[in-house]
Subunit: 163 residues, 2 copies
Amino acid sequence: MTSLTDSERVALANTALYEAMEQGDHGAMSRLWLDDPDLEVSCVHPGWPVLRGRGEVLRSYALIMANTDYIQFFLTDVEVSVMSDTAMVTCTENILSGAPAEEEGQLGPLVGQLVVATNVFRRTEDGWKVWAHHGSPVLAERDDDAAAGDAEGPDDDPDQLLP
Amino acid sequence: MTSLTDSERVALANTALYEAMEQGDHGAMSRLWLDDPDLEVSCVHPGWPVLRGRGEVLRSYALIMANTDYIQFFLTDVEVSVMSDTAMVTCTENILSGAPAEEEGQLGPLVGQLVVATNVFRRTEDGWKVWAHHGSPVLAERDDDAAAGDAEGPDDDPDQLLP
């Protein structure tokens, strides 16, 4: 068995984060987040304010899991950078999800959502752990020429042009 | 003159990032971002997809500055964590901005905006530099009991409950 590179290990930890969500596995989610008394974790769900500390972050995931009957992530455009004991992952989350329906036993309508994420990991003795997650909605598609490295924003709408 | 702690230096670098925006100082913005051939920077403006690399990121700031006649940031809830050569800042950006008006020489209507940011810095010989910036709109206010550490999201709307 060949050993994995740091980047490969980080990519696997990143994938595991989304698999824990898909499976509603709160225990796995808890194990994936950094547990270090000297370093507070932070988390921003799309449209949410900042959550800080394991307690607050893990409670938010419990709430989201309780309100989500079905969720699937198709990750695209995943980029991993590793610098000594810190790693940065940026990726696009193509999300398909359904909340519980009004009628018991039924799944609510499925909703597609495009989110971009910045995920920061720290190397620990127990593998790479999430230090910070920040997800945000992509409010408009970029132009087709975006792939050519054009940095213009969504439709050049000044309302979308704030840092 | 007393020497500053790492956290204080990172907080100053974080403030400088917003001052460069307020002043439309693209040169200062360029100097604040990490310039390391081994480490690609990344940037997410609110509602935008991920931008990667100094060229794409700095072009986006030039575009934003060109479309913004007035912008002011009131930073609140600033938290800094430092772990060896990496630092994480989370903060709330209370933004007041105005785009150019239709009539020449006029300022467009001022718009308030609430954004949360995760900013990651690397220590360099030339001070702390931005490795990643991720800003996202806060789509709804939290309840008043949020200050008590309640992790519930905005109005418990399931549409806002995705990671």
